[in-house]
């Protein structure tokens, strides 16, 4: 099934949330969520803690019934179908592995719930395949507490994928891993998803994780979806300041929109400094808005041709150097300079002055919300 879903032979959605709202008393954990999940895609819910990512996932898994709205799986309305009857599996935030069972027994748990029960030999073969897939061959007889955090995570993954679910839900699966391991696991998870062709939905508050792994990202805030799009869309065309701030780093400069022509707007910032760039949705002449400039879109030089700045701080990042600079009118902002761009100029030291400039069109003129 993997190849078929990847080539997009079947584009219809595998799951859908229609106006899904979940209230816990006065708290609205999920607010009118409308989302169609494509077959075989890797989708992420990205947002700060408490914005309703887990709740959205739990509605798909069947642990929470929506207060309003509907949940569809593979074309079927599943609001009233309990979790144990949904063809969906979840990798829990803290794995929720069964402590009284071995690794193999944990992994085979799902198959053993099927009626009629598959033959023992078949289950064993499937467990061994799953262990191979998550690169834990031979670990079957181990006890859960004999496994490291990273290994437990793989067991949780194997326990879910062995069932070949239509939808694999992952709730911050990497949150408990250290940075190096997390990075390895991200790559592995992405490879695995391509290989299996299962639709993955990942919940994370880590933007890098979402950006590097997903086909599409759902940016969430206060229980609702702010913007859905590919990582590149969200990076290049954020809908508002919230998205621009959440996806990648950005500098924001307040001002008033002085002209809008087509999809280009001009914003006059402090001291009459002008920012020209793509106008976000709903930007009109005369309104207050913000210009978003990515640190890598600003160039810093020793001369005095542009906006004068003083270097406040400098962080060496290997291929890049990050500068924090200060302008009396614009305040402090970040610049990311590549090694190549700096080669001719020589590094500016903290305390030295220089000037910054950016291309016309580099900025994004956005609503400040």
């Amino acid at each position: 099934m993997g190849a078929e879903s990847l080539t997009g032979a079947d584009k219809s959605s595998i799951a859908e949330l229609r106006g899904a709202t979940k209230r816990f008393g006065a708290v609205v954990a999920a607010r009118d969520i409308n989302l169609s999940i494509n077959r075989g895609e890797f989708l992420s819910f990205l947002g700060p803690s408490g914005c309703g990512k887990t709740t959205a996932l739990r509605m798909l898994a069947g642990f929470e019934a929506p207060t309003e709205g509907d949940i569809y799986l593979d074309g079927q309305r599943v609001n009233d179908i309990p979790a144990h009857q949904r063809p969906v599996n979840m990798v829990f935030q803290h794995y929720a592995l069964f402590p009284h069972l071995t690794v193999a027994e944990n992994i085979s748990y799902g198959l053993r719930q099927r009626r009629p029960k598959p033959p023992a030999a078949e289950i064993e073969a499937a467990v061994n395949r799953a262990l191979e897939t998550v690169r834990l061959p031979g670990f079957g007889p181990r006890r859960i507490w004999e496994m490291s955090g990273g290994q437990q995570q793989r067991v949780a993954l194997a326990r879910a994928i062995i069932n070949e679910p239509k939808l694999l839900l992952l709730d911050e699966p990497m949150a408990a891993l250290d940075k190096k391991l997390r990075h390895d696991m991200q790559i592995e998870l992405q490879t695995l998803q391509r290989k299996l062709g299962i639709t993955f939905i990942l919940v994370t508050h880590d933007q890098e994780e979402a950006l590097s792994m997903s086909d599409r990202i759902c940016i969430m805030r206060d229980g609702g979806i702010v913007q859905i799009g590919s990582p590149r869309d969200l990076y290049d065309r954020p809908k508002n300041r919230y998205v621009a701030d959440f996806v990648g780093k950005s500098n924001f400069f307040e001002g008033r929109v002085t002209s809008v022509a087509g999809d280009t707007a001009d914003l006059q910032g402090a001291a009459g400094i002008s920012f020209i760039g793509h106008a976000g949705a709903g930007i009109a002449v005369g309104q207050r808005a913000i210009a978003s400039l990515r640190p890598e879109q600003i160039s810093l030089s020793r001369g005095d041709g542009g906006v004068p700045v003083t270097v406040v701080n400098r962080i060496f990042l290997g291929e890049h150097t990050e500068y924090l600079v200060q302008n009396p009118d614009l305040g402090q902002f970040l610049i990311l300079a590549s090694r190549q761009a700096e080669a001719g100029e020589g590094n500016l030291e903290p305390g030295e002055t220089g000037s910054v400039s950016w291309r016309d069109g580099a900025a994004l003129i956005l609503n400040n919300d």
């Binding site: 642990f63 144990h84 829990f92 069964f98 748990y109």
Partner: protein
């Protein structure tokens, strides 16, 4: 200070305590069991196996204890588990503390007084009267093994409820979600997750109740009416009434041996059952 010396110093208080409270009395009992009854009662030094040879004379007490202690333990378990499950899982957290206190309340009154209540309830004016009034027969309850069993279950139920409650309360609810997620309906999740993970509590409760029941004497004395006596009653009789200390000591030694054997076998069994896990605490 060497590690060795420090270890010895650290262990000394515990070892002294064990020696004074456990080993010495046991040694005294064992020594007594080989002695003879002094003319005026009590102990007179000797080295004889006669006391042990005579154990058969108290066979009824051993039989009653060995039947009613396990039966009482099992009955306690059967009643306590659903109760503990309700308290830990189903009950509204708002009422939980109150319900738990209700389970303990009987402990605030002496078992003696509570047994008197049962004497009345099971006696001619109590439940039997009700049954005969309803025309359902004319049962005799008081002074039967059944009465003793009721008293035992009533008295020891909280000791079984609490360890099970604790193990159920500690159970990670996400494991049940994981089980459901993997396709298991609720009743099977209970059998596959809840029950095995509450076994440490069950094991602890059973051990506690069983060991205490083996030494019980008050309930059989009151509800068994001298007809259903336990080894504990035999001991009271031998030490306090007939003052045959050596024979009483022999009976006590026999009881200790029986308990050691059963408890060891039980621990073997539960450990094997738990697959050699260390974290399944039995006590």
């Amino acid at each position: 200070m060497t590690t060795r010396l420090r270890t010895i110093l650290l262990l000394t208080p515990a070892a002294a305590w064990l020696l004074a409270m456990l080993v010495l009395p046991l040694v005294v009992v064992v020594v007594f069991s080989f002695g003879e009854r002094a003319a005026a009662g009590g102990y007179s030094a000797a080295l004889t196996l006669e006391n042990f040879a005579n154990l058969g004379a108290r066979w009824a007490a051993f039989k009653n204890t060995l039947m009613l202690a396990p039966a009482g333990t099992v009955l306690c378990l059967l009643i306590a588990y659903p109760l503990a499950y309700y308290l830990a899982v189903k009950a509204d957290p708002k009422w939980r503390t109150l319900l738990l206190i209700l389970v303990i309340v009987p402990f605030w009154t002496s078992i003696l007084i509570r047994s008197y209540a049962w004497i009345y309830l099971l006696g001619g004016q109590g439940i039997p009267k009700l049954i005969s009034t309803l025309g359902l027969g004319n049962p005799r309850l008081i002074n039967t093994p059944f009465a003793v069993l009721i008293g035992i279950v009533y008295g020891y139920l909280p000791l079984m409820v609490f360890p099970i409650y604790v193990s159920l309360e500690r159970l990670d609810k996400r494991l049940l979600e994981a089980s459901a997620d993997l396709g298991s309906p609720p009743w099977r999740s209970f059998l596959q997750v809840t029950l095995p993970l509450s076994m440490p509590g069950v094991a602890t409760g059973c051990m506690l109740v069983f060991i205490l029941l083996m030494g019980e004497f008050l309930i059989p004395a009151m509800l068994g009416g001298g007809k259903v006596f336990f080894v504990g009653n035999a001991l009271v009789d031998l030490f306090l009434q007939s003052r045959n200390w050596p024979y009483g000591a022999a009976v006590a030694v026999a009881l200790v041996v029986i308990m050691l054997v059963t408890v060891t076998a039980y621990m073997r069994f539960t450990r094997r059952w738990a697959g050699g896990r260390d974290d399944v605490s039995l006590m």
